[in-house]
Symmetry: C2
Subunit: 193 residues, 2 copies
DNA sequence: ACCTGAACACCGTTCAAGT
DNA sequence: ACCTGAACACCGTTCAAGT
């Protein structure tokens, strides 16, 4: 006789993400998640393929949120202002969701990787802005330069890797400014005069 | 009665690093390492505090090698050539030692982090080059911009995160060129003329 | 002084049995 | 159709006992 589900994939992923952010990836066990949603560990396998599947779903949800966050940041006027806004939005998301963010580029099992379609969505706002700033032929390289810098900066910041003192905030705004100038190839830009 | 050691910390770290690079962090277990050096798992605790300690020692050794690699890359003539050489050396080390490299900025337990002194040594070649290129007041921010970009680029490359096609090699050399121009503040540089 | 088997507390996962 | 206890194969780690 059918019995109603006592939990759901949605609730499981929510609980898992909370545990991840609160206590770290090590603490994200099938036991801790099961306890959080009020079932026994074996029941989780009716909703997920296993722990790797859970981690991938958490990463996917975080990537979707980051995508929406980035889409909300572009205004569509000055591409240099848009690139600065994208960088700030990127960093603010990472600082607000450090452990879920770390999952996005984690060198984990392939099962953790977000799918190609979502990757495209994640790239689109930056790629469009980079094209307006650097021109069509350099758009992809410019976007890669920008995202590499942004990801490197926030992942080092989150890892506590800026350990020589100084002002990390200042280094971020310095980086944004220099990066924008570096990829700006518009005829009207200072470098072109 | 004392019995001679059948293995050594050195041999254990060597074996651990090999396993890490060959089969990944998951496969780096006390059992696999013990088997590789020819003892039983409990014996490892006479040489290490535990698995976290082993991982930290592997990361430390990799960081020392990376430091030497970077020190060997600077020529001390043109700072722009030095920065390009540092970027290339950084990337070549990461591509040759992907899993050990990933450990360096991994968001793992604090026990994994390399010590402050080694961090200074790791930073020195870049910081000196950045100072010659960007001037004393911007040296730290310029160095952070450069290392953020380099780390972000190689970690995304290693994670397989550049998935939109195009030429990753071209994106790297584009990034190096633009980054150098961006932080170059020398009076004789084009931007200053 | 180092190595070992046995033991402990934990993991992820499977599966037959319950409702 | 979902949930559960019991079981299995693994893990890191501890410790008394061996040499």
């Amino acid at each position: 006789m059918p019995t109603p589900a006592r939990t759901s994939t949605e609730a499981i992923v929510d609980a898992g993400r909370q545990i991840l952010e609160d206590r770290g990836l090590e603490a994200l066990t099938m036991q801790s998640v099961a306890r959080a949603v009020g079932v026994r560990p074996p029941s989780l396998y009716k909703h997920l393929r296993g722990r790797d599947d859970l981690v991938r779903r958490i990463a996917t949800r975080a990537a979707e949120e980051l995508g929406a966050h980035l889409e909300g940041a572009v205004q569509g006027r000055d591409p240099d202002a848009d690139l600065a806004a994208l960088a700030a939005a990127y960093r603010s998301f990472a600082l607000a969701n450090p452990r879920a963010y770390a999952l996005l580029f984690a060198p984990g099992p392939d099962d953790w990787r977000i799918d190609a379609e979502l990757n495209v969505r994640l790239s689109t706002p930056l790629l469009a802005t980079a094209e307006r700033l650097a021109g069509p032929s350099d758009a992809l390289s410019a976007a890669r330069t920008a995202v590499a810098w942004a990801h490197g900066f926030v992942s080092m910041e989150l890892a506590g890797a800026f350990r020589l003192g100084g002002d990390v905030e200042a280094a971020f705004s310095y980086g944004v400014r220099r990066l924008i100038a570096a990829v700006d190839a518009r005829p009207s830009s200072p470098a072109g005069i």
